[in-house]
């Protein structure tokens, strides 16, 4: 499974959703935000180096943290040296070696946001309930469909008491998972931990388990096999 976590808009919580979804599905999270990486990083080769042909994608995966990560560099020089065309092959290499991959997409709709959709086989679209940017979401959905990464689930993030679940489901034609506004989640994110580790019984942790179950329906006829590891 190769999931792109996208949203069109910035600041809706794509990285938080990608990181926690990676924790729940035991996937490698690829920080695909080439210009503004914000997932936890560390020293060593990163996605910029991979896309500049200076490092092997599988060797750039960091194990040992709470979530296996392929982090992204934060320098403009690194972003300039990176060739986004290589992302598709890099994601496939990581999938072959590790199994499931979750790609955190950048905001916007330039090629750096489109390439993860080409690399993925399904898309999770993150939106906020009060600032629901429908045109952005529709454009992202159309692009995901063209690139064969159909919209599997919409995440309404930071919802209050009465999320507009039905309206969003109708507008986007995809099932909705709501992630409630949550102190445990905010605390976990601030310390670079998945909420499923710090507060496994919280509503937010339950929401990410529900999201993982929704995008990986039990398949008839074909069994998924995990390779590598």
């Amino acid at each position: 499974m190769r999931v792109a976590v996208t949203g069109g808009k910035g600041g809706v919580g794509k990285s938080t959703v990608a990181y926690n979804l990676g924790a729940v599905t035991d996937a490698v999270v690829v920080d695909g935000d080439l210009g503004m990486a914000d997932l936890p990083g560390s020293a060593g080769p990163d996605l910029h180096d991979v896309l500049a042909d200076r490092a092997d994608p599988v060797e750039a995966v960091r194990e040992g943290g709470p979530v296996d990560m392929l982090p992204c560099g934060r320098s403009l020089a690194g972003a300039r040296a990176a060739n986004v065309r290589g992302l598709v092959d890099a994601v496939r290499s990581v999938e072959r070696a590790y199994g499931d991959v979750v790609v955190d997409c950048p905001a916007g709709l330039a090629a750096d946001a489109g390439m993860p959709l080409l690399a993925a086989d399904r898309t999770v679209l993150v939106a906020l309930p009060d600032a629901f940017a429908l045109p952005d979401a529709l454009r992202t959905r159309a692009l995901a469909r063209e690139l064969d990464a159909g919209l599997a689930q919409v995440v309404l993030n930071r919802t209050g008491t009465n999320p507009p679940r039905a309206a969003v489901e109708r507008a986007l034609g995809a099932p909705v998972t709501t992630v409630p506004e949550s102190d445990p989640l905010a605390r976990a994110t601030a310390t670079g931990q998945p909420v499923t580790a710090t507060a496994p019984d919280s509503a937010a942790a339950e929401a990410f388990h529900a999201l993982a179950a929704a995008i990986t329906p039990p398949r008839r006829g074909a069994r998924r096999t995990r390779r590598g590891r």
């Binding site: 080439l34 210009g35 403009l76 020089a77 972003a79 300039r80 990176a82 060739n83 986004v84 065309r85 290589g86 992302l87 598709v88 950048p106 709709l109 330039a110 090629a111 750096d112 946001a113 489109g114 390439m115 080409l118 063209e146 690139l147 064969d148 159909g150 329906p217 398949r219 008839r220 006829g221 074909a222």
Partner: protein, 134 residues
């Protein structure tokens, strides 16, 4: 050669059919699927049935070693054969190339690489890009 995996879900008197077509062969194949369910509500783009749909049939090209998804909805209960492979003919190499490639994505959406001017060059003009001393 071509493996079809079909799932159905019935919700609010509508059957949603989701299928993947996997091509394990060494050449791309143009696969035609047929459904016994009637009527068929195919996916639509701008109000018209998506490319490949015609009545109770849908045709799609699956590159060698790849899989593609297809789906539709119907008010009918999923009793009839939901989807069957009618035909899977090998296609020539250039027809496979219509699949989007990274190059297509960059051409359609624009190269996101920051311009050279935006990248500070160490040593030479670093002073002009750094903040003024306080």
């Amino acid at each position: 050669m071509v493996e079809l995996d079909v799932q159905t879900e019935r919700r609010d008197c509508v059957t949603f059919v989701a299928a993947t077509v996997r091509n394990d062969g060494r050449t791309g194949r143009r696969v035609t699927l047929r459904t016994g369910l009637d009527p068929v509500w195919p996916p639509r783009r701008q109000g018209v049935p998506a490319a490949g749909w015609s009545g109770d049939r849908v045709t799609l090209t699956v590159a060698a070693g790849r899989e593609r998804g297809v789906g539709f909805a119907t008010p009918a209960a999923p009793d009839e054969p939901v989807l069957t492979v009618v035909e899977a003919v090998a296609v020539a190499g250039d027809e496979e190339c219509r699949e989007p490639t990274p190059e297509h994505v960059v051409r359609a959406l624009g190269d996101p690489t920051p311009p050279a001017d935006a990248v500070p060059v160490l040593g030479t003009d670093a002073a002009t890009t750094e903040e003024e001393p306080r």
